[in-house]
Amino acid sequence: MLTYCSQRAVSALLLMLLISLVAFFLIFASGDPAVKIAGEAGTAADADRIREALGFNRPLAVQYLSWLGHLLTGDLGRSIYFNQPVATLIADRVSTTLTLSVSAMLLAVAVALPLGIAAARWQDGLVDKLVLVFAAVGQAMPTFWFALLMIIAFSVNWQILPTSGSETWLHFVMPSLALAYFAMPTMLRLTRAGMIETLEADYIRTSKAMGIPASLILFKYALRNAVVPVVGVSAAQFGSMLAGSIVIESIFALNGVGRLAFESIQRSDLSTVQALVLCFSFVYIVLTFLSDLLNAWIDPRMRSIYGNPA
């Protein structure tokens, strides 16, 4: 187990470095950062001054290594655009993003699992069809469209929910719904497919023949096996919610890390982009790792993978 973990950690670290390297060069490829920071009204002289002050005139490799050096001392750097520590910028926004994605995730799981099980249990029946339509709509409808429909209904017509901001829990109702409805269909379909497959397995038939209660078979024996792929997908989706709920954050004016990332790229805020890319890849890697552990807990067969240090 320990060897496995340390191997994973090393490869994760290398992966993060590689990602940060690519991100770093992409920023330079998208236009001179000094001109971007100087703004549309900035003169060539303004850009020159910025280039010199921020060291953009040094070779790219030197700039990257210097950033890496700071990172090793635990310094994420200062945002060029805001002239504030990047760590502060992220810390200010992370709670908004966490609240949004955790609530959306819980909501999605709470809907996807029961509906997926129900659809499998009554496969090809009316319930199954309704559930599949519900999932297909969620998959097909663009998130921003669904979000705007909700705004028109709940904010403009009935005026019961606020449109923007993050002051109270009410502010998170519509964004969470929109994000959850986007994430739910994949989870629902996987649950349904997994359940259908498992319910046809031999051991389920045997259990039925042995007279074990249907509910016990469904929730204890079948679900455990069916849910394994769902956990992996959910982890990935949770990761992308943390990093990429940009559309939802923009529509509902939630000042989260997704929006910070998107706007920092537009502003060529190099240090912020670098720090965020690093954080996002870290989150992804941790989540994947956690989902593996969770699966091992759910499905004892998978534990053997970790059990035999080579």
Binding site: G31, A41, A44, A45, S155, V156, P162, I251
Partner: protein, 505 residues
Amino acid sequence: MKKKLHCLSLVAFLALAPQMALAGKADDTFNVAFTVEPTTMDTYKETTREGYILARLIYDCLIEKDTSTGEFKPSLASSFKVTDDTTLDFVLRTDVKFHDGTLMTADDVVYTLNMVSSREYGARYQIAVDWIERVEKTGENAVRIKMKRPSPLALEMLAGNLPIYPKAYYEKAGPAGMTTKPVGTGPYRLVEVSPGSRYVLERFADYYAGSPKGQPAIKRIVVRVLPETNTQYAELMNGSLDWVWKVSPDDARRLQSRPNLKVQSTEILRYAFIGINPNFQDKKSPFADVRVRQAFNYAVNRPAIIKAFVGGSAQPAYAPCSHLQFGCTYDVDRYEFDVAKAKALLAEAGYPNGFSTELMISSTPKEQAEVIAANLAAVGIKVTLNFQQYAPALTAWREGRIPLLMGNWGSYGVADAGLSISNYFSGTADDQVKDKKVIDLLAKADSSMDRDLRKKDYHEALKIIASQAYLVPLWTFNVNTAFNASLDFKFDADEYARFYTAKWN
């Protein structure tokens, strides 16, 4: 029983619901939305217009410009005098308080202006401060500004763009403190900030009498950053917002039809243009020929494009400046839409069948560029449109790698042609024409304190630029604002929304 439970939960839901923001008149709160977030309240480090708008609520300057008459009025100064070509003298008011209760003194003025004009400080727009040689105290309540050279824009910059900071507070709080907890003398003080999302300002009770900004009428101003315009419109309709800006012509028409809303179109100082590089490919491109450049000008159907895509109060432009600016005039050679003339000029220049070229576009709606491409195709000039963000576009232009650049210029919201004509024709990196005569005329106009002389020199320069067709001036812009019908607020051409003048009607 079950039904009752449902009712109960709904009531609970509504009871738990925090009071929705009651907008507008009812609670004397002016709710504003911006799409772009201000970056800092340390305003000399700011680049966004949104940040400058907040700065004008929080800070005051030595003088103010009356937007209706163009006249400079004393503000933190009680009087001022242009002593000679490089000297400005100010007598300060003695009754102005900062938001932290301390009295504004000559030391604050000297400290602020010397600091922000120093190279180490790194003001974002050097043009605002780089004319200041030094500032000194000449009496208990008097200061003198020495200029590096005669700077006709000095008063423009002092009026609005150079706010005075409290020395004691800034020394203690530093730039970091000023970023989120600014202290100024302005009509409103910032009482609550969630950076990037919400700014709450409250009327400053001790605001000095006699300010040219007047006494603020509305108690609170809440500015929120709503990146999605549809969200802004939804809030405008349900009453939780009172004012939004930069509404597209289509959306403006839709919002206009709501009974509780008003829409206003204001012509602003920004103008659109296509820059032409006559020196492209060592003067071997068709654009080296003045007739080709003139044909290019004749080919563009400005009125039709304005009517279809720009709308509102926008006007055709005939020079690289806004007619609202001092020193700008459209009394020059004009190239009104004329396909026949364009074709004839092209034939005369040796291109009877036209030619192909590339047009790089930055910060322009796609459809406007596409219509221009169609206009040019009609006279035989086939352009490939290349849409770019401003950074790569500006770099390509400055390095002379492209023949044509379509963009726009806002002159920092300053109504003086020195900041528009000279930005593209005074021999700087943005000037790809480098006409010696024009450069000399502009150098004279940009460094003279004599307003009549400046006017004359700018006019001469504009005449050369027009007759040589060094660019295709397109049109001036307008900004649509949509707002609560019970709000009385006028938006100015320089785009510095002066919220302190707003009141309820």
